[in-house]
């Protein structure tokens, strides 16, 4: 962030001024509107703002109630009792949601955007939320299936120790024509990619299991994590967990929980007046190779997905992957963490497992990763999941991440989606300096 590359990309004029995550749990009372509203209000509080100052909103509409019309974000006008100058329904979460909001602000369409998402009351069969959601023909079901490779049964299994008898009906499942008929599930789509990698490079299973064990131990130490207090995990625990979709075992795969996350995006000048130090956007980018879960992913097509998004992100920032202090990577499964480090170029293809075992991804390692426990052990809440990554990155940059804090963290990388979904995205956040 200094030196000859001091001419900053315009994105550096945009910051995250407020973040919030609600309580995360296997299931929550109430409905998705209520939990989203709770997160949105908390993020505004964190930014020291009220809704009056917000002129852009990016959330879609999870129901219950509302219309079937798009953009669904407009339905929030009735909840907040006010209109907005800009709504972002394209991908209202995580890195793309943040980058779309930043683009809207830079294009003069609005000045402050509230981005939020999450879910509640949907994990129990027959809940009002689940019923409403099922009747909304907006594709939201497919979207939330896409970002969630775990399921309620998985989290139930892990927390109760009774994986054999837990319900399977809640496994996230792509519903597309040439996917659903085979009984595929999101975890299987990622497994199809990982199998080719294992076939070609045959990484040591114990070393590979060190990745989820380390991330799960971070979740174990995070009082806000759904899996708080579980563990500690050794690679042997990962390898002893029951298979779900080979090569993935239960503890290789993320949660599917409930809760919400939100962020307030605004110009860096305005953000400097907020109670907390701004987290500035240093760079970001996306890659959309194919629609998720329509055609099966092929390793040779998607193994390096994200490389271009990373290159653009680091180019904007004038940084290299080695400059990142903390990695909040999309850990939908063990393999994705390895793949993303390889795609970042921190090690060669096929060497990720050995590289990470030697470099370390814990707080004491060279590349502290998923310091809140990630999707594996903190939470994964559909549309809110990718935004949870940004919440943790901003807290890290503020020095307010609690037990998972990386001392002096100034540069955080947040990623979203992965090879099994055939799209990927990234954003670099940094301290304002």
């Amino acid at each position: 962030m200094s030196g000859p590359a001091a001419r900053r990309h315009p994105l550096a004029g945009i910051a995250v001024a407020g973040v919030a995550a609600t309580r995360q749990a296997r299931s929550l009372d109430g409905n998705s509107i209520q939990i989203c509203l709770e997160a949105a209000r908390a993020a505004l509080d964190d930014a020291g703002m009220t809704i009056d100052e917000v002129d852009g909103i990016s959330a879609r509409w999870p129901g219950p109630g509302g219309t079937v019309f798009g953009p669904g974000s407009v339905d929030w006008t009735a909840v907040f009792g006010k209109g907005f100058d800009w709504v972002g329904d394209t991908y209202p979460q995580g890195a793309p949601g943040l980058l779309d909001a930043a683009a809207a602000i830079l294009a003069g369409q609005c000045s402050t955007v509230l981005v939020f998402g999450g879910r509640a009351g949907e994990s129990a069969a027959g809940s009002p939320g689940a019923a409403t959601r099922a009747t909304v023909p907006s594709g939201d079901d497919a979207s939330s299936a896409a970002v969630s490779s775990g399921d309620d049964a998985m989290s139930a299994a892990v927390s109760s120790g009774d994986d054999a008898t837990s319900a399977v009906a809640s496994y996230t499942r792509p519903e597309n024509e040439f996917v659903a008929c085979w009984g595929s599930l999101t975890a299987a789509q990622f497994a199809l990619v990982a199998q080719v990698y294992l076939h070609r490079f045959a990484p040591d299973p114990e070393r590979m299991a060190l990745v989820p064990a380390t991330i799960r131990n971070a979740g174990s130490a995070n009082p806000e994590a759904v899996m708080y207090g579980r563990g500690p995990y050794e690679p042997a625990d990962i390898l002893a967990s029951p298979p779900v979709a080979e090569p993935f075992r239960l503890l290789d795969l993320c949660l599917a929980t409930e809760g919400a996350a939100a962020m307030v995006v605004t110009g860096v000048e305005r953000a400097r007046d907020c109670p907390s130090a701004p987290a500035v956007i240093l760079g970001g980018g996306s890659e959309w190779y194919r629609q998720q879960y329509v055609d099966p992913p092929r390793y040779d097509d998607v193994a390096r997905i994200g490389a271009g998004a990373y290159r653009r992100s680091f180019g904007m920032a004038g940084l290299r992957p080695g400059d990142v202090d903390v990695f909040e990577l999309y850990d939908i499964c063990t393999f994705e963490v390895v793949r993303q480090f390889e795609t970042l170029g921190l090690c060669a293809e096929g060497e990720g497992v050995d590289y990470l075992a030697e470099a370390g991804i814990g707080l004491d390692g060279r590349h502290p990763t998923n310091t809140d426990g990630g999707l594996l052990a903190y939470s994964h809440v559909g549309w809110g999941g990718p935004t949870l990554k940004i919440v943790e990155a901003v807290r890290q940059i503020r020095g307010a991440a609690g037990p998972g804090q990386v001392p002096g963290a100034e540069v955080a990388l947040v990623t979203g989606a992965g090879a099994g979904a055939q799209y990927h995205n990234a954003v670099l956040l940094g301290a304002d300096r």
């Binding site: 399977v168 996230t172 024509e177 008929c181 595929s184 599930l185 099966p296 092929r298």
Partner: protein, 141 residues
Amino acid sequence: MQPPDRADRALTGEFWAGVDRGELLRPVCGRCGRSFFTPQVVCPLCGSGRWTYEPSAGRGTVYSFTVVHRPPEPAFEAPYTLAVVDMAEGWHLLTWIVDCPADEVRIGMEVQVRFTAGPDGALLPAFAPRAAAHGPAGAAA
């Protein structure tokens, strides 16, 4: 699961109608001659809308596979083997490997189409190891 009207679908009905009678069809472009899958309004390789369903020889190799132990719906009886099969004609699809113990499925294994009933009774184009596949290419099991 397959809705009963799958053979009436606009773009893919002909494919499913073929499956129903034990015939594997593939979109073949009338301009560039190549096969593609899933079916699209135009050939994604050259942009031509002039394509037709042609018979496939049903021969392929396993590109990747995963043994599923936790089905998304109880109707699917685990374990079963999902696979991406690369067809000799240059297209690929998600499918099942059948008539082969799960621990004997290998990447690169040669397979032949074998029509198999899904959980709702409707036929699906699955694949079996060529050594285990009987009958002429593309024939119904």
